[in-house]
Amino acid sequence: MSEQTLFKVTIDNITVEVPAGTTILQAARKIGGEVAPPAMCFYSKLKGSGGKCRTCLVEVAKGSEKDPRPMPKLVASCRTTVMDGMEVKNITSEKVVEARAGVVEFLLLNHPLDCPICDQAGECHLQDLSFEHGKSGTRYEFQRRTFKKHDLGKNIQLHMTRCILCYRCVFTADQLTNKREHGILDRGDHAEIATHIEKSLDNEFIGNVIDVCPVGALTDKTFRFKNRVWFLKPMDAHRDCPTCSGRVTLWNRGDEVFRVTARKDEWGEIEDTPDGQPGWICNTCRFDKKETADWVIEGPREINRHSVIAQGHYSGKIGTTKPNETFTAVNDGRTPQLLMDIHDESEVNQPSIHLSQNKGASHGDTFNNNKA
């Protein structure tokens, strides 16, 4: 096949041309925005993933140009390939919106909703999903399923209670590493991710399971409870790593590197390296290189301005835009740079310092040095 056949597919009345073999979800992501169905289990970099969480269900109103019959059931868009002339309804279909609300409710049924103490909060796909598609209350009145926490090796902790069984980490462990030691035990609503039996995961690339986890079930022990992600400043950085691409995002506060992750795109997936390979990173980069000196900083990472990570600080640097209304108008002509600066009288936070004029991130030392 020298020339790729292009299929025309219409999603929510927007037509896009994609190569044959593309899934509906990938086609919708090409359009972007709200047209792209949410995906909790699908991960384009992992073979065989998808189809499980059922959040990406869409209605196929017209099968294809040749066979215009609609599909009888809602289909998982992440695993259904497009046909020429296919018409898909996502947010324009009442059935889809209702089914998706149902799936969100099911996913949250046994989820502890411990976001206030969860390290994933702020970058959690389930949080986004329930905010966008869920209801404010639950109809579930029974005890939720709980599990003990497990340590998978010295750097990763598994908190099964939060897990939504997307199988992403299982595919990651299967496909990135040689030894298969990580899978699902039991079935139904007491199924759990486990290593047989309580073995540690000590593979060189196993840290990537933290990045693929859509919820806070797999967390980085070097980062647990250290900081909230939205207080950190993401910076693109790289180093000459003998095992991996070495292209990472550093999450800094001041000069301190709180954690290292792979670079993620707007869908929360690992970005490709320039040579087209998924940019998985090794454990050494992730867990051991926690000094700014270890890295060549490229610059601040673009974060979607809707993300809570981009809220309220480092204005204009991380893709945030300043709001139109200013405090100047409402604060007697003062020009505060940040929300924190408005405490003029009490001198909380040293208002004489303009945080956004700092070269690096704001940090305790900035204030101390200034005082002295």
């Binding site: 099911f106 049924l109 139904g188 609503d189």
Partner: protein
């Protein structure tokens, strides 16, 4: 007396052995198929016969066979689904236990038609003693030249392997069965690709029920057209029904699908009436996952016509007033049975058997069980019934495999037809612990949707 095609010889002493089976006219179809017919003509005969899959879905077998992909140089496989785990269904066990050679005969012919040289029987783990019976039969057939290399000198090689499951209902779903057969966790695959294109070890595969494969034998012996004359409409041939519950004569019966449900329950030839002369309350006509029907809708359809024991008649009226023939697990409930408790038992089963792969089924089945437990134990409220209805609606059709539907349908049907009994449970929490709702349901007018 109805026509008997499968169980005709079941009572011949020693029929389990090759010798007796052969003497009674067994393995004729293998000789006929391998020597006089070719694979295409066998598929053609099966198509003509109108045989529908006996596992539950009722998909035309001939059509399923014609879908199998035939790429050059890639082996194809036939897999016999003997993972009969549907509560109320035990017809395949009967066939395999008493007529193992009938299954083998059907398997050899079907393997020839599909070009499968390695054919598998995936058998339910709980049927612990049956693999021995089958393996013994396979050895006998091999010794007689009906299995192994160069069968009957025709150059066709076929080996049959028996594989035990480990006790999972989900492995009766064909793709989960294939996964399990490959040695993996029995999770259903996401379709497409269908097994006919990429099945066992990514090779084209056909998965058929035990009874379907056994029915191939009479089809080859008598010809597809003759077979199609038995039965009625699109329900051709004979069907094994495993009847159980509050009836006088539980067991496996072969029917030709022309008899009425009333005759099946009350005639002495079949179930022999209700046990202890009690009143019929409800019936699950096709294995636990099909919708339950109250007596008034079971014997007559909503239009007032007699209901017959066949695919079309039992599903007359859709799910609103009908059910399904399913796998033929006929469960009869008398006036003393509690529908809420019955539904709870089924919901518990589906919760236990959900593989946990997709979220609606994993979380929804458990939730339904908990609510039903609450209602059954006198702690429910009226809003719980509505909630239950809403949950089943959100599960149905939104899962990877049919287990989600199978869990949702019994709950939906129980609420649809017996909502008054659920409400009685809620309103009489103490009374419902000691007594039953009984037959008050009959006072209700039957709701017939337009």
């Amino acid at each position: 007396m109805g026509v008997k095609l499968l169980l005709e010889k079941a009572n011949v002493p020693g029929i389990r052995s090759f010798e007796v089976y052969r003497r009674e006219g067994g393995y004729r179809s293998v000789e006929k198929a391998l020597k006089e017919m070719n694979p295409e003509s066998i598929v053609e005969e099966v198509k003509k016969s109108g045989l529908r899959g006996r596992g539950g879905a009722g998909f035309p077998t001939g059509m399923k066979w014609s879908f199998i992909a035939k790429p050059e140089g890639v082996p194809r496989h036939l897999v016999c689904n003997a993972d009969e785990s549907e509560p109320g269904t035990f017809k395949d066990r009967y066939l395999m236990e008493f007529l193992p050679h009938l299954l083998l005969e059907g398997l050899i012919v079907s393997s020839f038609a599909l070009g499968s040289s390695d054919t598998y029987i995936y058998i339910r783990g709980e049927y612990a003693w049956i693999p021995d019976i089958l393996e013994e039969a396979i050895e006998e057939a091999k010794a007689a030249g009906f299995l192994g290399k160069n069968i009957l000198g025709t150059g066709f090689d076929c080996n049959i392997h028996v594989q035990r499951g480990a006790g999972a209902y989900i492995c009766g779903e064909e793709t989960a069965l294939i996964e399990s057969l490959e040695g993996k966790r029995g999770n259903p695959r996401i379709k497409p690709p269908f097994p006919a294109i990429q099945g066992l070890w990514m090779r084209p595969t056909v998965v058929n029920n035990v009874e379907t494969l056994a029915a191939i034998v009479p089809i080859i012996n008598m010809g597809g057209d003759e077979y199609a004359k038995i039965g009625v409409g699109r329900s051709t041939g004979t069907k094994l029904i495993s009847a159980c519950g509050n009836i006088n004569k539980p067991g496996v019966y072969e029917i030709d699908m022309t008899i009425s449900v009333e005759e099946f329950i009350y005639s002495d030839e079949y179930c022999g009436g209700m046990k202890g002369g009690k009143q019929l309350k409800a019936c699950i006509p096709g294995g636990s996952s099909v919708p339950i029907l109250p007596a008034n809708l079971l014997l007559k359809t909503a239009k007032g016509e007699t209901r017959y024991m066949n695919y079309e008649s039992l599903s007359d009226g859709g799910f609103a007033t009908g059910s399904m023939l399913g796998s033929g697990g006929f469960i009869v409930l008398d006036e003393d049975q509690c529908i809420v408790k019955n539904t709870l038992t089924l919901a518990r089963f589906y919760r236990h058997e959900s593989c946990g792969q997709c979220s609606p089924c994993r979380e929804g089945t458990g939730w339904m069980e908990k609510i039903l437990y609450k209602i059954e134990h006198g702690k429910g409220s009226i809003s719980d019934i509505d909630l239950l209805w809403d949950i089943q609606r959100k599960i149905e059709g939104n899962t990877i495999c049919p287990l989600g539907d199978a869990a949702a349908w019994p709950v939906a049907a129980a609420i649809r037809h017996f909502r008054d009994e659920f409400e009685w449970h809620v309103n009489n929490p103490e009374l419902s612990q000691t007594s039953n709702f009984g037959l008050q349901h009959y006072a209700d007018p039957i709701h017939v949707p337009a």
